[in-house]
Symmetry: C2
Subunit: 142 residues, 2 copies
Amino acid sequence: MLSKKTQYAFHALIHLAEHADKGPILISEIAQEKNISIKFLENILLELKNAGILGSKKGKGGGYYLLKAPKEIPLAKIIRLLDGAIALLPCVSLNYYERCENCRDEAVCGLNDVMSKVRDATLKILENKTLKDILTRNVSIL
Amino acid sequence: MLSKKTQYAFHALIHLAEHADKGPILISEIAQEKNISIKFLENILLELKNAGILGSKKGKGGGYYLLKAPKEIPLAKIIRLLDGAIALLPCVSLNYYERCENCRDEAVCGLNDVMSKVRDATLKILENKTLKDILTRNVSIL
DNA sequence: CATAAACTCTATAAAAAGGATAGACTTTTT
DNA sequence: AAAAAGTCTATCCTTTTTATAGAGTTTATG
């Protein structure tokens, strides 16, 4: 299950993409529209900014905005950023690998084998689907 | 990511299946072999017993044993039992569904749509692969 | 039938994660 | 200069996860 943080991030990114034509968007607008605690959302948007996905403008008329086109933002990237590993086991994670401490040899572990297949099936979707693919409205510009 | 509980459960079940010919297996034997805290493992095996997957025998010469053939135990069942939902979002879970509180209409939510696909791809593997498929040794009997 | 072996059950506690809040600070516009 | 708005750090509370302790119950067996 994805953490609340990642779930909120997706909803916020969707809102930002669907209103990209309106310039910087207020955190408070997103929070209200998507029913998310404003302060918690603040932290999340900040993380997305530090990761180079969002930009922000301070002062009056400020807010957050996408730095990239939605089609350039794979869903897997957002999950890894906020949640870490996508795989079900540390020993089959591509980006957050950890050695298995409960089995003798990962190379012949049947569990490792099956979970690798799950990982591949999941990544095939999450690495190819982007923010653009989950937008509700048609955003012709991006 | 699967919880430690589920990870340990898989390793314990593998051990039980691979030594099914030896009668009841001691908790302590599994704990030592798989490098798991004995008391924590105790709780896990008890849950598996209460779910009808394992049987136990008390007293001297006692221990735990499988109640079903490994090929009758889908991996998805174990995960759902100990971890709950397999899906990445509550709103796409088949067994632990919860309404989405951040979007207006799940029926037209792009996130819901993609995550349903991830769920289906994952379940296609986890519901068809069984304990038998992750055994390291050949257990001809079962 | 006493004893030791082994699972059962309940309670507790430590650690980590998740979720939320507060408030001072900085930047920008007007 | 003042107001608007985002930035940043620190803290706090709750829940979940992981782990441990110990008393209780059952059973084999000598």
